[in-house]
Every structure is written in C-alpha cells, then in structure tokens.
C-alpha cells in the first residue's frame, strides 16, 4: 500500500504517518502540508507545499501515485488559521489532492477527516445522531466537513472507490492546538447559564488510530468516532479547577469577544459545542473499525488540563527529522 497523507504537518497527520511507518504492509508513505511535521518520522517523504499551490501539489501527488489517501487536509477554523483561509485551504486541498490521486491511476481507497459538526446542533435535530441522521451543519467548520465529504463521495461514485468519512468528535489532546482546548484552559470560562449540554471529545491518538484502521480495512461510508461517555461545560470547567462564568442570550457576544482578547478566539462550532453540546452514536465505528478501547471523553478533558505540566524538550531534539524534499 502506498499512502498519501494530506495535512501531514499537523499533529494528526504526523501521528498517522508514524503509525503507518511501523507496518510491513505499507510500502511507502508520503505527505505534504504548509508546515513541517511535528514529530520524528523515519521513512515518510514530506514535501512542504501550500495546499492552495495547485500545480506543485498535483505534480507531487501524481509522481507518488498513491494507492490510498488519508485526507487530513481539512482545516478547523481558529485552530491554525482564520475562517476564510480554512475554507479555501480545505477546498483546494481536497479537490486538488484527491483529483490528482485518482488521475495517477493506482488509487483503491480514500479516508477523509470529517466532524460531528456536519449534523449541526439545535432545535429539531437529533441529540445523539447516528450515521443515517440528516446532515445540516450550523457552522462554517460543519460546512467545510460536509463539502469534503461531498467531494469524496462524488469520487467514490465516479470511480467505484471505497471512501470512508470519519466524523470525529472535537479532537483534543495536551499537545494538539484546538480552539476548544484553548477556551477551556482560560482561567475563567464562559458556560451556558440555563443549560449544561453533554459533549464528547476524541483524543488525538485515537483519531489517528481510527484513520489507520479505516485505511487498512478499506472502510466505506460514514463513521462517527467519539470518546466514550461525555462531559458537560460546568463539569469540565470545574475538573480543570477553572471558574465557570455563566452567560445567556446576547451575553455570549461579550463572552466571545473577551475570550478572543484573552487569546482564545471562539469560532461558531466551538460556541455551538459549549451552548448546545455535541454528541453522537459511535457504535458503528466500534463494531466495524474495532475501536472499542478509545480514551473516554472525561480523560481527554483531564489531558487538556495536563497541558501546563508538559515540558518541552530543547528545539534541536524536537525538530522533525522527516526527509524534507521540498
């Protein structure tokens, strides 16, 4: 199997590449991103390409001729870029990378990153949707994920290739940048005054493992991937020994502005999560991808608060040693 990892520079992409490198049935791993990998890679080939640079991206993918694509080029707003840049980068990366991979002629499977945000939240929507629930995103990130799924599904239809969409719960971990993680780590955290909706999270390592399992099994269709159990805003804030500050109605405008000034921009999907919750039925992924031992949501929350105790190694020791050919 020759695996192309789009978005290899992020924590998730790098982790997936590391997992693939350990497998004998994976002949080669290659990837690109606009930032270099975050961890040590041994036999992966990385090229630094901005996903919006169509010509370079297509040349690289065509030359590699992947048989499988792990598509992490789906950029969450406010994680590493703004909303508009996220939309552009995600669309360009999806269309260009998947299109070039198909044209290279050897592709036989694709797995794309998506999110529970495709279901949307609010009145009239299921509280714990399964994969058959209607899709109706209520945030820009949800629409990004839905567009990515639609592109990939079109590819599957036209070329008869199995395409799996992994609808991840919000991904968090002590070392992975996420707008929700930043918000929870503020000294005082806004919470809904009149509600305490449950939300689920997914540990970064589990998201990477789900991607590898889906690739190896040639999974087809949509899968919700969530950490077992749930947490709620009031509870999560107290678990981290932070101060919950209740808001309601227009008060959220003030809350998000203050959070932004404090260094934690709050995109709409994170605001939805904390005001309306975010949960899904992950039983299909458990059964078909063998994901029965995922890190529980409350442990992911605890891991988020372990951030402060993480000791960074000196720069030279942490520099990625992937063979950078770009």
């Amino acid at each position: 199997m020759r695996v192309l990892v789009t978005g290899m520079g992020g924590h998730l992409g790098t982790k997936v590449a590391q997992l693939l490198e350990t497998r004998d049935d994976v002949e080669a791993v290659a990837g690109f991103d606009f930032v270099p990998p975050r961890r040590r890679l041994s036999r992966s080939v990385f090229k630094r390409i901005d996903p919006r640079d169509r010509d370079r991206l297509i040349d690289f993918v065509r030359d590699f001729a992947p048989t499988a694509v792990a598509h992490f080029g789906v950029y969450e707003p406010a994680a590493r870029m703004g909303v508009r840049a996220s939309i552009e980068a995600s669309e360009d990366c999806t269309v260009n990378a998947l299109g070039a991979a198909v044209r290279a002629g050897a592709l036989d499977r694709v797995v794309v990153r998506s999110g529970l945000e495709v279901y949307g939240r609010g009145a009239g929507r299921p509280e714990v949707p399964d994969e058959h629930a209607p899709l109706g995103p209520t945030s820009p990130y949800g629409r990004i994920c839905l567009d990515v799924e639609a592109h990939a599904a079109g590819l599957a239809r036209r070329h008869g290739i199995p395409v799996a969409s992994l609808r991840f719960a919000p991904i968090s971990g002590s070392r992975s940048p996420s707008p929700f993680g930043r918000l929870l780590r503020l000294p005082a955290v806004p919470v809904p005054a009149l509600a305490d909706p449950p939300f689920q999270l997914l540990h970064t390592d589990d998201a990477a493992r789900a991607m590898v399992e889906a690739l190896l099994r040639g999974a087809d269709g949509a899968f919700n991937v969530v950490g077992p159990g749930a947490a709620s805003p009031w509870q999560a804030v107290r678990l981290g020994n932070r101060i919950p500050v209740p808001f309601f109605g227009p008060g959220w405008l003030i809350a998000t502005r203050i959070a932004e000034l404090a260094g934690s921009p709050v995109p709409l999907h994170v605001l939805d999560l904390i005001r309306k919750g975010c949960a899904a039925d992950g039983s299909r992924a458990e059964a078909e991808l063998g994901l029965t031992d995922l890190v529980p949501t409350q442990e992911v929350v605890a891991d988020l608060y372990a951030w402060a105790s993480v000791t960074a190694l000196p720069g030279a020791a942490t520099a990625a040693t992937a063979r950078v050919v770009g």
């Binding site: 299921p126 509280e127 399964d130 009149l194 449950p198 509870q235 678990l239 981290g240 949960a279």
Partner: protein
C-alpha cells in the same frame, strides 16, 4: 424485592455505572457536594448524570408504594424497551422508575419528557431522553433500559396509541409491555400502585430493522397487551 435487598456495587472508578445503569452506593451529602464542586462525576452522551440520579431520584422513587407483577421479566443487564401506558402528569414514569429500581437495581431512561429551559436540563440529568426515534435507538445501542409511553390518555387506566416510530427504530431489541395503574378503586392512588410487566414481544423471524409493517404489528400487540393488563 425491596430496595434494601439489592446488592449495590461500589464504584471502583468514578463512572457511576454508565455502561449498565446499575444503581450504585450513594455518597454522603458532604461527599456528594464535594464531588459536584470538583466536577468528579460521570455524564453520558444523552445528558444523563448517574451520580445525580442515584443521589436525588433513587431515594424518591424508592419510597413510592407499589407492587410489581412479572418483575422477573425485567432484564438485569443489557438494553430493552419498556412500553407503558401514561396518564396526565408524571406519576407513571416515576412509578415505573421505582419498579425497575426495586426489581432490577437499575436506572431507567424515560423517553419524551418535556424539555423547557432549565427544567429540561434537570429532566435530562435525571434520565430523560428526547422523543426522537433515532435518539431512543441510540440509547438502546448504548445498553440502557428505556421506557417509551403510549399516547397519553385522560383515563388512568386507558391504553393510547403505541409509539410506532420508536418501535420501528428499535426492532431487534427486547420489547416489554408494561401496565401501570393506581391500586385504589376507580383509579385513586389510595393503595400501592400496581406495575405489571408482560411477556417480551418480538417481531416475526427475519424482520429487517426499521420494517414499518412489522413495527405497526408489534405496536398493536404492545397496546393490546397493556390494555389487557389494565383491565385485570
């Protein structure tokens, strides 16, 4: 079986039995308040808060005077859908929770409780789930014991329309018809409530999940079984 007779488990990890709804030993008031303040309690994806259910709800429903017939049919583990009659108010769901607690030592998820602001938060924490069929199916797939009401009737001994959409979405799980009626004459709750658990119902062999015809037949069987038990 009385509440005191149930062997309650001691939590080794603070997950409060989310996985099997098993009723657990209760904290003291001080410990419970400390646990709430520290955020060290479990929450499930349906908004249920087992710690709060065991601490607040269990003592209340455990004191409801009631008599259970066919209690041995209530599953001690795993998922099942109870379909029960319901009159105006909240009496039947509370009585049913009490019966399940006494007979099986488990918590019960009640389908379709109202969810206005603030009150909705509390009903979800105490085990309420939305009335959408897909959400109820997710509750059962997670291994919980759920109770869905027949359509509400004004008569305390009436059996309304069965929830067909819920039954269709949950085909394949055990379905138990349950009749809940006040023990007193002309429906007055002057004697202990009577909860009758009927024989499990199942669709014909080879029924596909979501089959609307099979669900309609099963719904009618459940309604008839409940009506028969209410007439006894």
């Amino acid at each position: 079986m009385a509440l005191d007779g149930i062997a309650v488990a001691t939590p080794s990890v603070p997950n409060y039995g989310i996985d099997n709804d098993r009723l657990l030993a209760r904290d003291s008031v001080l410990d419970a308040l400390r646990r709430r303040w520290d955020g060290r309690y479990a929450v499930d994806e349906f908004g249920g808060d087992p710690h709060l259910q065991d601490f607040l709800l269990a003592p209340v429903v455990g004191r409801i005077p009631l008599r259970v017939e066919g209690g041995e049919r209530l599953p001690r583990d795993g998922a099942a859908l109870l379909v029960a009659n319901r009159g105006p108010g909240f009496a039947e769901p509370l009585v049913l929770s009490g019966a399940v607690q006494r007979e099986a030592g488990r918590r019960l998820r009640i389908v379709g409780l109202p969810t206005p602001p603030l009150l909705g938060v509390l009903t979800h924490k105490l085990g309420g789930v939305g009335r959408r069929a897909g959400d109820v199916a997710a509750v059962l797939r997670a291994g919980h014991l759920a109770a869905a009401p027949l359509a509400m009737t004004l008569s305390a001994t009436g059996a309304g329309e069965a929830p067909r959409a819920v039954i269709a979405a949950t085909l394949g799980f055990a379905l138990l018809p349950v009749a809940v009626r006040p023990g007193g004459p002309v429906g007055l709750p002057v004697r202990p409530w009577v909860v009758s658990v009927g024989e499990p119902l199942a669709p014909p062999e080879g029924t596909e999940p979501g089959d609307p015809l099979a669900a309609a037949e099963l719904a009618e069987q459940a309604r008839t079984a409940i009506a028969d038990m209410l007439r006894r």
